[in-house]
Each structure stands twice: as structure tokens, then as C-alpha cells.
Amino acid sequence: MKTTIYEKDGSMVAVFEGRLDTAAAPQCEQDMKPLIDCAGRDIVLDCSALDYISSSGLRLFLGVLKSAKPKGVHVFITGMNADLRNVFAMTGLINLFEFKE
């Protein structure tokens, strides 16, 4: 599991690669810290190379959203495959995030 954060066109982009399971979540949470700390810039969670996510990963995504919303920051999910999107649908998270292709 690899998490890369960079800035692009005034947005913060996080790229997730591999399996975001319970074992990978603590390191990923550390790597995602800049997303929690940032203000005034929208956030893009690039999931095009994300193969798997379990509830510990969903919790991290939800945490980003919860910290962004009061700051007026938008959180977009891009490139998520149909299987993972199904997990977001099942848990109702699909209604909370903004999805982009």
C-alpha cells in the first residue's frame, strides 16, 4: 500500500495504490495528515490504483470528509473501480462524497 500526496491546480491530491486493509491503515492515516491540516483547497482522493478498502480505510476517508466540510473544502473521489464503489454504496458513503471520473 502506497499513499502519495501532491498539489495540483490548487487542489490537494492523494493517490492510493494497492490494498488499504486494516494492516495498512495506520501508515496511510499518517500519510494523509496533510489532508486533515489543509484549509482552503479542495481535496481529490485518486482511487484509480486502489485495489481494496476495508472499514479501517473507509474510516480514514470519512475522517477527511468530516474535517473538510466545516472548512468549506470539497472532497472528490476519482477513478474508483466498480467493486469498491459498491462498498461505498453498501455503507451509504456514496451519498456523502462527490465522485468524479
Binding site: 494492516a23 476495508s54 479501517s56
Partner: protein, 154 residues
């Protein structure tokens, strides 16, 4: 262990009708989850589940096992989690057991997935996913063990 795994798989492929049994013991350490994922991948492969179903099975079993790892034993106490799998061409049955304190994950209140963001609790999705993804989930306390049985029809 590797050689034994291979043998069981081979047997499974040569006689699809026959039921099979597989077992894995993990420490109560979430860093062992990749080992669990590999085990589940092998089982799903042996009953020809497609990638989407395999992902869902991994998710359900990871959530159930991690729940045990996190709650069955006091922090800093080493304990084991047993994962027994009984399968045939009709269903997969996972029996997850531990010798920890009595803990019934099925007694947890169901998460309301329709709540708006502000009211959404950050946790509790694990057992919710197990319920969603499996056909049945049963808990019992037997001989000082927590025994959680999950079933998936194929």
C-alpha cells in the same frame, strides 16, 4: 505450510463435489491481515469465485477477524484467532473462534447508513459490512470460546 496448501488445492480441483476443510491460526495482531487475505484468496480461487466476489469475501472475513483481534483480548495480551473454513460447491462456512473474553459482535447496534455526515459515527462499519456481505452470521459462546459462524451461499 506452503506444500500442504498446494496439496489441498490440488485435491479440491480434482474432485469438485467433495467438501474441503482449511484452517488458519493468526495472532491477535492486525499486521497479520495480509496473511488472512492470501488465505481467503486461495479459498475463493478453489471454488472459482470471480474477483468481485473474492473481494467481498476478503472484506467480510477481514472485518470479522479484525473485530476479534481488537476486542477479544485485553491490550498487550497475546491470543490466537482461529479461522476454520468448511466448503463445498454450495456454500462456504467460516468459523472464527478465540479464547478471549465473551464478546458478541452481533449484539452491536446496526449502523444507520442514511445519516447525514454530521451525525455519521466514524466507526462501526465493520460488522455492518459482515452482515451485508454474508448470508448468515451467528455467535455462540462454547467451552470458554467465542465462536462466530459466517455463511455464504455460492
Amino acid at each position: 505450510m506452503k506444500a500442504l496448501d498446494g496439496k489441498i488445492n490440488q485435491k479440491q480441483h480434482s474432485d469438485r463435489r467433495k467438501s474441503f476443510f482449511r484452517s488458519l491460526v493468526l495472532p491477535n495482531d492486525v499486521q497479520a491481515v495480509p496473511q488472512l487475505n492470501q488465505f481467503i484468496d486461495e479459498i475463493c480461487d478453489s471454488v472459482d469465485l470471480d474477483p468481485a466476489q473474492t473481494m467481498q469475501m476478503n472484506l467480510a472475513i477481514e472485518e470479522a477477524v479484525v473485530n476479534v483481534m481488537n476486542y477479544a483480548y485485553p491490550a498487550d495480551v497475546h491470543g490466537d484467532v482461529n479461522i476454520d473454513v468448511q466448503g463445498n460447491d454450495e456454500q462456504l462456512e467460516f468459523i472464527i473462534s478465540d479464547s478471549g473474553i465473551p464478546f458478541d459482535p452481533t449484539a452491536r447496534e446496526k449502523v444507520d447508513t442514511t445519516l447525514p455526515l454530521e451525525d455519521r459515527p466514524i466507526g462501526g462499519l465493520g460488522i455492518f459490512l459482515v452482515r451485508e456481505l454474508m448470508d448468515s452470521i451467528h455467535y455462540k459462546r462454547v467451552d470458554g470460546k467465542n465462536v462466530l459462524t459466517l455463511c455464504k451461499k455460492l
